[in-house]
C-alpha cells in the first residue's frame, strides 16, 4: 500500500511537470503543493491508521478492470470530437476567454490573469470552493476528533522530551528551515497578484511547515504552538472574511463580490478585494489542512494508546 501511495506521489509530480510544459504555471503550482505534497501525506496517514496490507479481494477484479478499460476507451473516443490542440476556433477560445485575456488588465489591473479570473470574475465559484474545504474540515473534526484528557498533556510532554535526542539532526535542520518556509508562504500569498501563487498554494505551504514541525517534534508540541481552538477559529474566520467582503460590496451598492465599489477607484477596489479574499482563502486552507492532520494523527495515537502501547 505504501508503494501505491508513493507512486501516486510520483504521478502528482509528473502531472505538475506536464502542466509546466503546457505553460500553466498556477495549475502546476497547485498540483505541486496539493497533489504531490499534502494529499500524499494525508493518504499516508490514512494508510498508517488503517493498516498497510489490504484484505483478500472478495469481489471479482475482472469486472472492475473491464469497466475501467471501457470507460478509458470511451474517453479516448470522445477526444476525437475535440478540436485539435492549439486550433484557434476551439469553443474555449470563442466564449469568455478573449474577454478575460484582453480586458482583464484594464478592468482588474492585476498582471496575473489567473488570479483575476479566479478571484474576481469567478469570485462566487471560489467562495464555493472555500466553503467546500471548510466543510471538509468540519466533517473530519466531527468524525475523527478525540476527546483529550487533561493529563494527556503531561504525558505528551514527557514523550516529547524523550524524543528530543532521537531525531537531532533532522530537528536542527527543520528548525532552520521553518522560518524560510513560512516566509515563502507569505511571499506566495501576497505576490499572487503578480506571479504564480495565491491563497490556496500559500495556505498549503504554510500548513506544510506546521505539519513538518508536528511530525518531528510530536503532536503535543505542535498543538502548543498552534492550539486546536485557534485553528478552528481561523478556518471559520477565513470563510467569514471572504463572505463579508461580498457583503460589504453589497452594502456599498454593488452586487455580491463586486470589488469595484470597495474603494473610490475601481482598480484600487479590485486590488483590495482580491487581496482580502486571497487572505481569506489562505487562512481557511492552511487551518483546514492543519485540522485534518491533527485529527488524523491524534486519532492514530488514540488508537495506539487504547491498545496499551506507547508511542
Amino acid at each position: 500500500m505504501f508503494a501505491v501511495v508513493m507512486l501516486a506521489g510520483i504521478y502528482g509530480l509528473v502531472c505538475a511537470s506536464f502542466f509546466v510544459a503546457m505553460d500553466a504555471v498556477d495549475v502546476a503550482f497547485t498540483e505541486a503543493s496539493i497533489g504531490a505534497g499534502i494529499s500524499t501525506l494525508l493518504m499516508l496517514t490514512t494508510v498508517a491508521m488503517t493498516g498497510r496490507t489490504d484484505h483478500e479481494a472478495t469481489h471479482k477484479p475482472l469486472m472492475a478492470f473491464v469497466a475501467v478499460i471501457v470507460t478509458g476507451g470511451l474517453l479516448i473516443y470522445g477526444t476525437f470530437d475535440m478540436p485539435y490542440f492549439g486550433s484557434a476556433d476551439a469553443p474555449v477560445h470563442q466564449h469568455v476567454g478573449p474577454h478575460y485575456i484582453y480586458d482583464s488588465i484594464q478592468e482588474i489591473g492585476v498582471p496575473n490573469m489567473v488570479t483575476s479570473v479566479l478571484a474576481s470574475y469567478r469570485g462566487f465559484d471560489t467562495f464555493g470552493e472555500v466553503t467546500v474545504i471548510f466543510t471538509a474540515g468540519i466533517g473530519v473534526l466531527a468524525l475523527l476528533s478525540v476527546a483529550r484528557r487533561p493529563e494527556d498533556d503531561a504525558v505528551m510532554e514527557a514523550i516529547n522530551d524523550s524524543m528530543h535526542e532521537k531525531h537531532l539532526i533532522l530537528r536542527i535542520v527543520i528548525k532552520t528551515m521553518i522560518p524560510f518556509i513560512v516566509l515563502y508562504a507569505f511571499y506566495v500569498q501576497f505576490h499572487g497578484d503578480y506571479g504564480p501563487g495565491g491563497g490556496f498554494q500559500a495556505g498549503v505551504i504554510f500548513a506544510a511547515g506546521i505539519i513538518l514541525y508536528a511530525m518531528l517534534f510530536g503532536l503535543g508540541a505542535a498543538r502548543r504552538v498552534i492550539t486546536q481552538p485557534v485553528v478552528q477559529m481561523l478556518s471559520a474566520l477565513g470563510v467569514l472574511v471572504y463572505g463579508s467582503v461580498g457583503l460589504v460590496s453589497m452594502l456599498n451598492g454593488g452586487s455580491f463580490l463586486d470589488y469595484n465599489v470597495l474603494a473610490a477607484d475601481p482598480i484600487a477596489g479590485q486590488h483590495l478585494g482580491i487581496l482580502l479574499i486571497e487572505l481569506g482563502v489562505g487562512l481557511t486552507v492552511a487551518s483546514v489542512m492543519i485540522i485534518i492532520f491533527y485529527s488524523f494523527v491524534g486519532r492514530s495515537q488514540f488508537q495506539k494508546a487504547n491498545k496499551g502501547e506507547l508511542l
Binding site: 531525531h167 539532526i169 535542520v173 527543520i174 528551515m177 524560510f180
Partner: protein, 119 residues
C-alpha cells in the same frame, strides 16, 4: 567576458548532467539499498549545485539569481538531511546491508572480492 561566462556555464551544465546520469545508472545498477543511497546522495547535491550554478552564470537578472541561490541552499540543506533520515530509518528497521561473506559464505573469494570492490 561573455565567452568566458558561456564556457563556464556550459562546463557546469555538462558536468552536472554527467553526474546526474552517473547517479541514475548507480541507482539502477548498485546491488543494495545502502550503495544506491550513496549514488543518489553524492550526485544529488553536486549535480544539482552544478546545474544551478550553470544556470546562474547564464542569467544577468538579479532576482533570478537570488531565487536560484535559494533553491541551491535549500537543496544543500534538504538533500543530506533526507538521506540521513532515510539511512537512519533503514538501519533502525534492520534492513541488512548486502555483505557478501554473510550471505554467500560458499562462494569463491575472487567473486566476493570483486563484488565488494564494486560496491
Amino acid at each position: 567576458m561573455d565567452t568566458v561566462l558561456t564556457l563556464l556555464s556550459s562546463f557546469c551544465l555538462l558536468f552536472g548532467s554527467f553526474l546526474c546520469l552517473s547517479g541514475g545508472v548507480g541507482i539502477l545498477r548498485f546491488p543494495d539499498f545502502y550503495t544506491r543511497m550513496h549514488a543518489v546522495g553524492v550526485t544529488d547535491t553536486l549535480a544539482a549545485a552544478m546545474i544551478l550554478i550553470g544556470l546562474m552564470l547564464q542569467n544577468p537578472d538579479l532576482l533570478v539569481i537570488i531565487k536560484l541561490m535559494m533553491i541551491l541552499l535549500m537543496t544543500l540543506f534538504i538533500s543530506p538531511a533526507a538521506s540521513h533520515a532515510l539511512g537512519q530509518a533503514a538501519v533502525l528497521n534492520k534492513l541488512q546491508p548486502l555483505i557478501n561473506m554473510n550471505i554467500n559464505p560458499l562462494e569463491e573469494d575472487t567473486s566476493a572480492g570483486d563484488k565488494s570492490s564494486k560496491s
